[in-house]
Symmetry: C2
Subunit: 458 residues, 2 copies
């Protein structure tokens, strides 16, 4: 009994029957295929340069749906379909105006403001107000009534000492997501935020804010870290500095859109699904190359690699392009709802939404047993530079699949460069390296291979 | 006896007396200092943009000597000095001309040729000849007499399936370094090589060739991988394709130059030295940002960090900017000769010459015991993403210090992007990421801290 238990345990970890060796060889084949023949870089170029950016509800988003659908048809996946959802339709409108109006030192100072996603507009009358600087949401709350009728300038930096840049982002991003409603509740007219990046440069970063439905909506813009530093310096010498803001953003009624799904049918367990992909929408600046064109193209490339190597999956594999991660998450929710209502069973889902950088591991979210199994596969990936298998996390779009008991997995690329590009006009094809992008694709394909072969319990 | 041996062993690995914890704290302080306050990125900007490229013997190289000397004086290192050496003085001269003269399909085809470093020129008369393609040195040797009076086109690619790009480089680079003499021995007029890179793009890569002193020197140029692919395609349809080459490179008499050295004096063992740095010369295209401005600025930053944190080293620490790594290695040899003749004892030397990318570990070359000690420190660096401590290697400039019994260490950054930029006009400041550069600096400073504190036996 004990011996048979041991055999079961060893077999489940792929240690018996030479599986380790044959799996290593297959994973090497997968990396070789991607590094030698993958069209992923050219596919990403097309998405970035021919389709361009693709905020939910835009013509770019529609074109991206059609491009990825056709791409997967071209690769002759068993099924390619569009899964309908409704998405928010936020439009930036005409270019923002932002300026300091009364600097004793510099006179009028034009700033490069970029409205935050979901922000309302000021309209043609604009907003003029005295500016007041805070370092965080908490500091704004402490200032309380002093904020009334002011424009609040959130100037909290990302912590440069955190090696995990996403942790630093997580701390700093609250001023972007919640800052407007916190300030509005205290009577502020508008907010400006320091861009959420560790870089010191001239690039403003957009990104979504969430208005508290119980609180008045006020306009919100980001400025670059260099302009934030300038504004802060000027404020030190002159407390009554005023700013004029003008922008034409607006939230229009929801529009129909789609998740795009390609599938290889499972030969043994067709109702067990492994989903892999990224989100197809981006912000309306740049080209959404790292965020998240890379993840989408990698998802497609995983299935393409299976076909190229003539691997017939036992489970059904899906490349999924989720729509609307950036400002609503409708695609992720819609996909899980669709899937559950069709009695599908996702055993695992992998999302790549941290950029097309060199992979360092996988994050995960699931049962202890699931995570233990994932970690037991670490040695397959260490030769390719992936060492991090113990960090928590999944992905915004795959989160809702936890209701099916799926192991949620995030591709974890090196994060040092991500926030230079994130949500800016710098997130373009040229910022992505071919080999780094390919290695992410190959790493996910290798993991899908193991998930498909061995399955994944609950 | 056994117990005391155990204590010695444990102490030497920093396990007793809470050393592990206090060392971890100090290493965290070092990373925090660099990630928060390091001027390294601005220093590299200056070296790239104000000094520019700096091939040995050029005015750029002289300016770089003076810039780094002044920078270390500004940081108030205990000693800053120039260590004289003689360097080769190779000049590219006027822009190369390279064209296919008789394509039946395309007529005359202009190519973007870039003479290899150390190449002779053709002079104004140029060289015209039929072209013959080979995939490697070995293939050229097999062709033997068929090469006579031809221009040999070495078109061997870098192997994309090797995760360690430097291994793929090591395999492919022989056609650049030895290809001219191999072809000349068989009667060839000149050579053209496919650029040594994994990228498929329009950028030619230079780099040194070595002429066999017993064989006639012939001119040598690189073309981009895209133009190599074009040339190869045209040759498939037309075997008698001819090429015209013209260039004005020449090797002039040696010139005086310098290694630049900054030092913090050791308080307990002043004659035990730890050297850290990179090479100050670059090629004459681009700005030598990754190769090797990054390594130089990191070396200086290691000593700056010690001063900023008020750490008095027990051993003498040296930031060394070696001159002439690219086409002679005179600086590395001269530095070791100078040091040995002054009865100095280098216990370790760290070279950063694989680009300013995110660090993944350290390579090493030394005695088994030395390497064992280095590997015992791995756990200090794993929290910062450095996992690779078992790869062999040191650095071209520190190699000669092996005669002093020094442990030779190479910073091992992620290598996926390096050969996009290597020896090209693309190796510019903008290709370097601030955080990646800083993390390399901090990693070396952490290692120097341990080497200084615990020493390093032979």
């Amino acid at each position: 009994m004990k011996k048979s238990l041991l055999i079961v345990l060893l077999a489940s970890h792929g240690i018996l029957f030479g599986q380790n060796k044959s799996d290593s060889i297959m994973i090497k084949n997968i990396y070789n295929e991607v590094l030698t023949h993958s069209p992923i870089y050219e596919n990403l170029r097309f998405l970035c340069k021919e389709v361009g950016n693709r905020v939910s509800g835009s013509t770019g988003a529609s074109a991206a749906v059609e491009y990825t659908r056709q791409l997967m048809l071209k690769y002759d996946f068993d099924t390619v379909f569009l899964q309908p959802i409704m998405v928010p339709n936020w439009k930036r409108g005409a270019k923002e105006i932002l300026k300091i109006t009364n600097s004793k030192k510099l006179g009028t100072v034009e700033l490069n403001g970029l409205a935050l996603g979901n922000s309302i507009g000021t309209g043609a009358k604009g907003v003029l107000g005295e500016i007041i600087e805070v370092g965080s949401i908490e500091e704004a709350e402490l200032l309380g009534p002093k904020i009334k009728d002011k424009i609040v300038f959130y100037n909290g930096p990302m912590d440069p000492t955190l090696l995990e840049t996403f942790s630093a982002y997580g701390q700093a991003v609250r001023q972007r997501s919640a800052g407007a409603s916190v300030a509005a509740a205290l009577g502020a007219k508008a907010i400006i935020i320091r861009s959420i990046t560790q870089s010191l440069d001239d690039v403003p970063h957009t990104g979504s804010l969430r208005y508290d439905p119980k609180i008045k909506q006020i306009p919100a813009m980001a400025i670059s870290t260099k302009q934030a530093a300038l504004l802060s310096r000027l404020l030190k010498d002159q407390a009554d500095l005023s700013i004029y803001m003008e922008n034409y953003a607006e939230m229009l009624p929801d529009l129909p859109s789609f998740n795009v799904v390609g599938q290889l049918n499972g030969s043994e367990f067709p109702n067990e699904f492994i989903a892999v992909g990224g989100h197809l929408d981006s912000w309306d600046v740049g080209e959404g190359a790292h965020d998240d064109g890379s993840g989408c193209m990698q998802g497609i490339d995983v299935l393409r690699t299976f076909k190229a190597l003539d691997i017939t999956p036992k489970r059904s594999l899906r490349a999924v392009m989720w729509m609307n991660e950036e400002n609503g998450g409708r695609g992720g929710k819609g996909y899980a709802k669709y899937s559950t209502s069709h009695n599908e069973n996702h055993i695992a889902a992998i999302e790549s939404d941290r950029g097309g950088f060199v992979p360092r591991g996988f994050t995960s979210s699931g049962s202890d047993q699931q995570i233990k199994t994932l970690i037991s596969w670490k040695s397959f990936f260490e030769p390719y530079g992936l060492h991090d298998f113990d960090k928590k996390g999944g992905g915004a779009d795959i989160g809702p699949l936890s209701e099916q008991g799926a192991l949620l997995i995030g591709l974890l690329p090196d994060g040092q460069r991500y926030f230079r590009y994130h949500h800016t006009n710098q997130d373009v094809f040229e910022a992505v390296d071919r080999r780094e992008l390919e290695l992410g694709s190959a790493s996910m394909a290798g993991l899908v291979y193991l998930l498909d072969k061995y399955g994944m319990g609950k």
